[in-house]
Amino acid sequence: MAIASDQSSEEDRMTPQFEKVAEKKESRRGFLLALPSYVYLIIFFVIPLIIVLVYSFATRNRFGGTDLSGWNLESYERIAEPIVRTILFRSLWLAFLTTVICLLIAYPFAYFLATRRPAIRNVMLVFVMIPFWTNFLVRNFAWRVILGNDGPLTKTTEFLGLGTQELLFSQKAVVLGLVYGYLPFMILPLYAAIERIDGQLIEASRDLYGSAWQSFRNVLLPLSMPGVIAGSILVFIPSMGAYVTPEILGGAKTTLLGSYIVTQFLTARNWPFGAALSFVLMAIMLVGTVIYFRKGGRTL
């Protein structure tokens, strides 16, 4: 068990490299643990990513296939076309709108949650978690049922004497579906951020002659900013790439980037263009996320 025999002099037994050797052994253990996932992600994530990049510079041939030879920037140039630009800005706008609406609903809600007694708070939190875990497709479909012709909403508006509503297949319906789908993503990080704030800070602010609004503006909001940013990213990213919601609740005039990309692959069969669009979409997300982490965000 002893590292060296008794004969060798004690001075030469422990030298700096022993510590190094032990560290290296540890390092190798860690690496081996990570290795399977590392390799998996390189094969099934990084390589596919590179393939998309390669495709985005390729050319579509006459038969709807892709020629990997003639490299060009045509697919990226097409993004400047009016139709594509409209779709891109529409997606950005609707994702932004969704994020703002979620924020306006979720912030007071998260604060409301944080002021409840702990026992009640936990129960209330569970009922926010349930929609978070529930099938997204089904939840969007529920709105299709509600907004449909002669559906419950029309019945209600007619009963109230407001006439029929024609929300379905409009941009409003898409935003409604997105807000419904992603609201829990906003509530949870906001709640986590607000709950961490010591209530005495607000009391101190009030004690120091701050009005309710000033206390919110100067104490609560800055302290809960990490939650605001985390929640906004969590809502903005999937809204921007939304595909299911506009397919179910939207119509011809509400094509968003996500659906447009899918169309390029499944119907239009213009793979290079679709690849270029997905790459642009991903770039927007990555820039947003990097900014978030740079600003000191820790959790997603």
Binding site: M1, A2, I3, A4, E10, E11, R13, M14, T15, P16, F18, E19, V21, A22
Partner: protein
């Protein structure tokens, strides 16, 4: 006799930070040995190196003559009581105590017998099926002790084990730990930042500061003749008066006052004179006192402690602290009173800067 633990020229670096700097140390078998110092002084790192939880960057470390520098912790015959006990929350007290034996592959029946013996020794019988979270801090502390001692380690390492307890419980545990150490007869290596704790319990104390070992000695020696200014200041309360050695019997304080103090420093050396507050006395100011063992000053403040009074005395450029026990007949001096602070000549010790 072989030393229980021997460190030879041990250094530990974390990146560029030197946590322990070239430390030589011998811990004898069967002694209660404390490592004392402010947080970040390297005492815990030293303990963790003995345990094998850190490996030294340089030097040699042996336990009962066997070199263990980079031996894995599970192959060392030492056990640790962790700062926050580190009891396994998912296991009962019995399983916590039996953990080490189970890992060693001891027969199940024997594990149970030995664990129960140990639980009895730390007076926790009846608690063996509880989870750690259902016990008080003091009880958890006992479980941690039992869990370590059941393995019959050659050395027991304790990393500030009493830090989380309240004062009263801590004092009880100090006595109990000391008794336990005598009963089991192995050496305890006890890390603490509490000087009082170290003084009460230890056979010997090592004072550490910024990765260096400043003094290793018995509690009396450390208190009475501290090796340098840091040790004098860190152990107990003291008055440090700067001065220069005049000859081996006299020190000239920096305001020119001569004081009788014996030392081996060569004349002209800058030193400090340490006078413990409880070794000095306050009397009405007189002109005929022994001027080499007293100084004149004015009472600045009086702090009433119940069992004692602490006077802060204004003297020349500084303030001296004097502690008077609250016995019957002791005279009380009001702030502003001119008084004389005097001491027996053996109350003074000269410490290097």
């Amino acid at each position: 006799m072989v030393a229980a633990v021997q460190l030879k020229a041990i250094s530990k670096k974390f990146g560029d930070v030197v946590a322990v700097d070239n430390v030589d140390l011998i811990i004898e078998d069967g002694e209660f040995f404390s490592m004392l110092g402010p947080s970040g002084c390297g005492k815990t790192t030293t303990l963790r190196m003995i345990a094998g939880l850190e490996f030294p960057t340089e030097g040699s470390l042996s336990i009962f003559g066997e070199e263990v520098g980079t031996l894995a912790p599970n192959k060392r015959s030492v056990n640790t009581v962790f700062q926050n006990y580190a009891l396994f929350p998912h296991l009962s007290v019995l399983d916590n105590v039996g953990f080490g034996l189970k890992m060693k592959g001891v027969d199940k029946k024997e594990i149970k017998v030995r664990s129960m013996e140990m639980i009895e020794l730390v007076q926790l019988n009846g608690y063996e099926n509880r989870k750690p979270s259902q016990m008080s801090g003091g009880q958890q502390q006992r479980v941690a002790l039992a869990r370590a001692l059941v393995n019959q380690p050659k050395v027991l390492l304790l990393d500030e084990p009493l830090g989380a307890l309240d004062l009263k419980l801590r004092q009880e545990m100090q006595v109990e730990l000391k008794k336990l150490q005598r009963d089991v007869g192995i050496s305890f290596v006890f890390v603490t930042h509490d000087q009082e704790e170290a003084l009460t319990m230890s056979d010997r104390i090592a004072v550490m500061h910024e990765g260096n070992l400043l003094q290793v000695a018995s509690p009396e020696e450390i208190y009475e003749t501290p090796a340098n200014k840091f040790v004098a200041d860190f152990i107990g309360r003291t008055n440090l008066l700067e001065g220069t050695v005049s000859d081996n019997q006299t020190v000239i304080l920096s305001n020119g006052t001569p004081i009788r103090a014996s030392s081996n420093f060569s004349p002209g050396t800058k030193i400090s004179v340490s006078i413990r507050p409880e070794r000095a006395t306050i009397t009405q100011q007189t002109e005929n006192g022994d001027s080499l063992s007293s100084i004149n000053g004015t009472v600045e403040t009086v702090t009433y402690l119940g069992n004692a009074r602490v006077y802060n005395v204004q003297f020349a450029w500084m303030s001296l602290e004097v502690r008077e026990e609250n016995r019957t007949g002791v005279e009380l001096y009001e702030p502003g009173t001119p008084i004389t602070v005097s001491w027996e000549h053996d109350a003074v010790s000269v410490v290097a800067d």
